[in-house]
Amino acid sequence: MAETATAQRRTSLETRGFDAKGASLTLAPSSFRVSLRAPEASISVLEEALGLSLPRLPKTSSEEGTRAALWLGPDEWLVIDTETDPLTASRGVEALHSAVDISHRNVGIVASGAYAAEAVNGGCPQDLSPEAFPVGACSRTVLGKIEIVLWKKAENSFHIECWRSFSPYAFAFLTASARDAAA
């Protein structure tokens, strides 16, 4: 009798990790991610469906339970949820919007420690001082040669979202940078 083949989803960085005094890197837990684009008129309906407010100010994010919305552009958000799929919540919304599941396009890396900002700054040209990039700030930016979404989740903890195929590069870059920063 033929056996049913079952595909197993593996992350691209499952064996990676880096830990040094002052700067450590870990793989973020697998999450649901949605690229959400909507005009001003649809925002309130979407907020109600998703159960969290969509930030309107540049470089800001909002969190509600396991779900977070990151401002990427004037009409663009990245919705991340570690538990439930935001698409099931937004599916019934009639108002004009575009919600695309990008859960497996992105890989999340968490850089934490006293020198986390220095580790990220090794390849990211943005000002990451607490005044310019407070807790909750998020931005699409660059890391070395690739594009990332950077999100400061807590003091000394950065969440970095990069594309899956770029993740070995991102991790190697951050490892070298974290080693230098912690030294």
């Binding site: 540049p58 470089k59 990427l72 552009g73 040209p125 699409r140 660059v142």
Partner: protein
């Protein structure tokens, strides 16, 4: 690294996040079929290449993704002003006057506007690299 102010992100960002989009304020004809070949050539191929102030489109491609317009000096690379796409072309004289006012407000009034690294580019090379006569020039090769 240049810091460019994105009018959508409302702050200065490093230039690595941006991409130049060519000359700004080029209007596409509403009736391109009726347009003469010469007029189409002007619209499609002919661009200004000024030495000095230029109105350009820029895109915050590794940021908010938006196109916007910028007023840049091609000699000094100084960004005089950035504004959202679709907004009218600002008057150059008013911009210069506003910048001058800001310079005074910031207490830089005693420093002439034509001094500083940015202004050096306006000086012909032979006047910048003035050869200092060596102290022992008289003992040089005969």
């Amino acid at each position: 690294m240049l810091l460019i102010r994105c009018p959508y992100c409302e702050e200065e960002r490093p230039e690595l996040e941006f991409r130049n989009g060519g000359q700004a304020h080029i209007a596409r004809s509403t009736d391109i079929v009726q347009e003469s070949a010469e007029a189409f050539e002007r619209f499609f191929f002919i661009r200004d290449n000024p030495k000095g102030v230029i109105f350009e489109r820029w895109r915050h491609i590794h940021g908010c993704g938006r196109f916007f317009n910028a007023v840049r000096d091609t000699i000094t690379d100084k960004f005089h002003h950035t504004y959202k796409a679709g907004e009218p072309q600002p008057d150059l004289n008013e911009l210069i006057a506003a910048n001058e006012d800001r310079r005074m407000d910031e207490g830089r009034g005693d420093m002439p506007a034509d001094q500083g690294p940015g202004s050096w580019a306006n000086v012909p090379p032979d006047q910048i690299n003035v050869a200092e006569p060596a102290a022992d020039a008289s003992k040089g090769d005969a």
